[in-house]
């Protein structure tokens, strides 16, 4: 009796002590001034003009800074070192430009761009219309993936004066403004050539310069004292230290320890690993600006030309469950082909799950137990595709469809995607270079043409017509109308099935950035834009 | 007092499922300067006896059940390991059967001989080297070869080196376990001659283990015949060779082919030695003995002295029937 009492006393004493221990952390609210304790940050001295002297962040990709060289375009780095021609204001959703004073359409096929005259590169050279033109034309020269859709007529394009460029188009592409066109110094680029190692520390007009690049270890970006826009658009972070991680688990652990202030995850697994947030860090899962769309590989399997077969898949797969299972916490249900935040968004309608109806439709089309529908595809050996294929296989089997798939490593897979007869009879499309104002045409890249991945092409004449018309339309309002029509067509004829908005996770230290600051930096044209995070306007 | 006195030695090998009675109640004496031949077939217990003297029995399976081994009055079985180490190589040396593997291949011959000197006595490097060169010369190897490695010597030469190592510290007793069995006949003769010369030079007593009666005749003063871990006959050479009494001894002599006669078949002793894990009660030889009677199966014969210095363990000899 006595010993039990004693035990109870001890336990309750323990509980009280534990509560007292946690009390301070519970009472400390967000209103109190932030004290930066994470080792990833060095707070700047008073009067230096900066908030942070140095911030460390983590990334899993390193490469050079040649704009447009996928897949290693060190995107984050590019946004620090170069100026971008067109940007979108995250709040007003309006197009603006840091480097252009003005731009307007002179006629149907000519866009006049007037540059500011006080833009200087880090080597002291003044940026002129020649550099602006070169920024676009160099993509074509290098055969980069950029700028393939828009048909610029370089012969008719004129440089009217030092700062005025009149660009002529054979066919306009409405995604033109959404391209991240980094302003390149033509004379410097031509003098070093595309093969040069100097591209690891390039000349740019942006607020930062690469001061150190140690391959597969780290890159240091330091704020330039001679940044031309320093007075109007100063930055509050003096140095970004970008640390390389070969392994995402290690990066996540370092985030927990506070050794990095920010990192992005594409694999759903790691987002889940950090999703609870924790001691000093939080995870923001935000929209990345496009949608996951299930597409039929028309060119690879004739069965898709039968609408009943396509409809069967809209009934036969529980798309909401599918999204939840394959995307986990990244799942954001959608009824459209572009994100809700886009001005082109239209609710095309939802899908009902009815396996019997699906089987009926398949039977009508000629597929039943004795002659089941057989489908095959090739996807990349990454966690997203392996999960998606596995789930799809299961749901197909419920429908009586035999689905097989191969997972190959990225180069081999991409080769199969781009070759007719490569065996990719269906696939899941998403375009990660988007923004929240994602335009429909960019979201459905390749849907209107058979260049690139063959399974993305939607072989429907009316749709292709609408798609091309929306592509070429220069008038904003008309373009949005056409875009909505094209989306509706996709839904009505069941030519593609959207099931989730894309999002990605950014983990950040709560004592370094607030959520608002992060979102402002993140919800822009890019994945996340470190310059935007650094801007003074973000710190007021 | 003899130099070496083995009294009632019994050694067993304790295995997981059985116990092997290797040596059963053996008593032997070796006098200073004399050679005792220990004769028996394979598995009789000769090597076990020798190893017990040296204290080199493999400890987990082997167990000395009883007995004493007195060397210069001290019981070797009760000695501490450290003291035994002082005796080995110094006062009692042993050479083994296979010379090909008896030497360490990565050390020179000179080094291996010098080791013996370093172990027993405060020799400086130079002194030890000098002494080992002398030993090499004594066994008939040119001293220049002391920097060579064992693989550069032939079998016979290797055995000479082993002998040099064994006799380096001028031991009082040399145990030789079938030293020439692995050598061909001409070399055998050379090595035996060498051993005899050295024995005389150093006045070393020798316990020579062999199964070859010819060698016994050449080198030994006394002979002990061992069968199934027991002594069945013991005596001087003259006694054993002129007047073998135990049926086993007679059988051994009988199985040697004669150079004079012209025969078609050899005369072996029929049967095999009994399984040492499963020794029969009574006389161990009785299943193979031509003169066995019922009494032999029941009771173990006593070890009796039939003439001065000549011992036999047999029911049919020494007192009872002589049929």
């Amino acid at each position: 009796m006595k010993s039990r009492m004693k035990l109870r006393n001890i336990c309750s004493a323990f509980v009280i002590a534990a509560m007292l221990f946690t009390l301070p952390t519970v009472t400390a609210s967000a209103d109190e001034p932030r004290e930066v304790t994470s080792p990833c940050v060095k707070v700047a001295e008073e009067g230096s003009g900066y908030v942070y002297d140095s911030v460390t962040m983590g990334t899993g990709i390193f490469g050079n800074f040649i704009p447009g060289t996928a897949p290693t375009e060190t995107d984050n780095g590019c946004s620090l070192v170069f100026d971008v021609v067109f940007k979108v204001d995250p709040e007003t959703k309006e197009l603006y430009s840091d480097i252009l004073e003005d731009w307007y359409w002179e006629d149907e096929s000519t866009l006049v761009m007037k540059m500011k005259d006080n833009i200087y590169f880090s080597n002291g050279e003044n940026a002129t219309a020649e550099d602006l033109l070169y920024t676009y034309s160099s993509h074509a020269d290098r055969g980069s993936a950029y700028v393939t859709e828009v048909k610029i007529n370089y012969d008719k394009t004129e440089i009217r004066d030092d700062y005025t460029l009149a660009m002529n188009f054979d066919a306009f592409y409405s995604g033109f403004y959404a391209y991240k066109m980094y302003l390149i110094d033509k004379s410097w680029s031509e003098s070093v050539g595309w093969d040069s190692l100097e591209w690891l520390q390039p000349v740019g007009s942006g607020p930062y310069a690469v001061t150190e690049y140690v391959m597969d270890d780290h890159i240091t970006f330091t704020a330039r004292d001679d940044y031309w826009n320093k007075d109007e658009n100063p930055v509050k972070i003096r140095e970004w230290y970008m640390k390389y991680y070969a392994d995402s688990a290690t990066m996540a652990m370092d985030m927990e320890l506070g050794n990095i202030a920010m990192c992005a995850f594409t694999a759903v697994d790691y987002e889940r690993f950090l999703k609870e947030g924790g001691d000093g860090y939080d995870v923001y899962a935000g929209p990345s600006g496009c949608c996951y769309i299930f597409q039929f590989g028309f060119l690879e399997n004739d069965c898709w030309y039968d609408k009943r077969v396509r409809e069967a898949f809209s009934y036969g797969i529980p798309w909401e469950e599918f999204g939840a299972v394959t995307l986990g916490t990244s799942y954001r249900p959608t009824h459209g082909f572009v994100p809700e935040t886009s001005p082109e968004y239209i609710d095309v309608g939802g899908y009902t799950y009815d396996v019997e109806k699906a089987k009926e439709l398949l039977k009508e089309a000629g597929y039943d137990e004795s002659n089941p529908l057989k489908l095959h595809t090739v996807m990349m050996d990454v966690s997203f595709y392996s999960k998606t294929c596995e789930a799809f296989e299961y749901y197909c089997s419920q429908m009586g469809v035999e689905f097989t798939y191969d997972l190959k490593d990225i180069p081999a897979c991409v080769m199969d995607w781009n070759t007719l007869g490569g065996g990719c009879e269906l696939g899941w499309n998403f375009n990660n270079l988007g923004s929240t104002t994602q335009q429909f045409v960019q979201s459905m890249t390749f849907a209107g043409s058979d260049a690139g991945a063959k399974w993305c092409f939607v072989d429907d004449d009316e749709f292709v017509e609408l798609y091309n018309a929306a592509s070429a339309e220069t008038d904003e309002e008309k373009r949005i109308e056409l875009s909505k029509k094209a989306q509706q067509r996709l839904y009505d004829e069941c030519l593609a099935i959207p099931y989730s908005e894309c999002s990605y996770a950014v983990a950040y230290r709560t004592d370094v950035f607030t959520l608002d600051q992060l979102i402002k930096g993140v919800m822009c044209n890019d994945y996340y834009n470190l310059t935007n995070i650094s801007l003074a306007s973000n710190w007021e | 007092m003899s130099l070496l006195e083995i009294k009632n030695l019994t050694v067993e090998y304790v295995l997981r499922k059985s116990v092997v009675h290797a040596v059963n109640n053996i008593s032997l004496n070796v006098d200073a300067g004399k050679t005792l031949g220990l004769v028996g077939e394979t598995g009789a217990g000769k090597t076990t006896t020798a190893l017990s003297i040296m204290g080199l029995l493999p400890h987990p399976p082997a167990k000395v059940q009883s007995g004493e081994i007195l060397f210069e009055g001290q019981d070797l079985l009760k000695m501490k390991e450290h003291d035994l180490e002082n005796i080995r190589g110094n006062k009692i040396s042993m050479i083994f059967q296979d010379p090909m593997t008896a030497l360490n291949p990565v050390l020179t011959v000179g080094e291996q001989i010098a080791e013996t000197f370093h172990l027993h006595g405060n020799y400086s490097r130079a002194e030890a080297e000098k002494e080992s060169l002398k030993m090499l010369e004594m066994v008939g190897i040119r001293p220049e070869r002391s920097t060579e490695y064992p693989h550069q010597f032939s079998g016979g030469m290797k055995q000479r080196v082993v002998i040099a190592m064994a006799l380096a510290c001028k031991p009082q007793l040399l145990i030789a376990d079938e030293p020439t069995t692995a050598l061909d006949v001409t070399i055998q003769a050379q090595v035996l001659e060498l051993m005899n010369d050295l024995k005389v030079t150093f006045n070393t007593a020798m316990l020579l283990i062999t199964h070859d009666l010819g060698i016994v005749a050449e080198t030994c003063d006394d002979v002990a015949i061992i069968y199934a871990g027991q002594l069945v006959e013991y005596g001087s050479i003259e006694q054993i060779f002129d007047n073998p009494l135990h049926p086993y001894t007679i059988g051994l002599f009988g199985s040697i082919p004669s150079l004079d006669e012209d025969v078609e078949r050899l005369k072996p002793i029929p049967g095999l030695m009994p399984d040492p894990a499963n020794l029969p009660v009574g006389c161990k030889f009785c299943t193979r003995c031509s003169r066995a009677v019922k009494q032999c199966e029941e009771a173990e014969p006593e070890y009796l002295e039939v003439e001065p210095g000549h011992f036999v363990r047999c029911n049919r000899i020494g007192g009872t029937d002589n049929g």
């Binding site: 980069s144 993936a145 990225i410 180069p411 | 080199l56 180490e85 080791e115 032939s154």
Partner: protein, 328 residues
Amino acid sequence: MAKYVLKRILLLIPVLLGVLIVVFTITYLTPGDPVVTILGTGYTPEKYVAKAAELGLDKSYLEQLWNYIWHIFTRLDFGKSYITNVPVATELATRVVVTAKIAIITIIIDVLVGVPCGIIASTKQYSAWDYGFTSFALLSSAIPSFVIAPVFQVIFCVKLRWFPLAGLAGVSSYVLPIAVNALGGIALITRMTRSSMLETIRQDYIRTAKAKGMGRREVVRKHALKNALIPVITVTGSSFALMMGGALVVEMIFTIPGLGTYLYNGITNRDYPIINGSVILAATIVCIMSIVVDITYTVVDPRLKTQFVSKKSGNRRKKLAQAGDGHV
């Protein structure tokens, strides 16, 4: 002796040439296209052709092979990475140093810890020590490094905060990668030493040494060890060569910019110059290590040493041998 070494070194050249050709052919035949990797998924046929020509990938197999071999032999030019344009030779030089540092220290620890453990396990066979060491060896070779590494990270970096998680920031960054690498190596060398010692101790010359009156410890040290360690030399040499190939998993988890990550990234991106260059470097290291091991043998094992005694002194000895002996 010098002749032998020279011969072995000269033999390296055809071997490496063979490796070169095999590696080049394999990467050439592997599906997956560096041009596609660089251009991404949205390119036109014209762009493809232009890029391929730029990289020299439009030439025939033999032409490409010949160009590659010629550049290596005349200028030690292994080409440049398709993706980053950094010359492969420069990258390899920096990375091999990093990997070498880790590999050398790992091997030293392996031997310093593994050999004594093996000796103890063998001399005290069937005792608690023996079972302890062999179980440990079994466990650490059974548990793969990609399990051990993260576990160490969680324990030593996250919970205890003793070491940095990733990167190469000073001496403390090397501790964990070396520890993870060393575990597997220690296991191997312990087992190897143990079995070699067990075999050696049963040899007749050990019995001879004991019969001379040598104490147990001295016997092990002077007689058993030298013989028992000969197989261990082989294992150490090949272990080191393997480790230089880059302990890939460990390098990736701890973000060590060494050979392993370099090769892995090259393979994922189909960056042919990187793949070919790294494999050839690894092959060269393996060949050199095998030469070193063979030379070490001749130094340690006199049975091999005497083969290389120079002709002159050998003849003189033979003559003396024939003259003086009379014995066989």
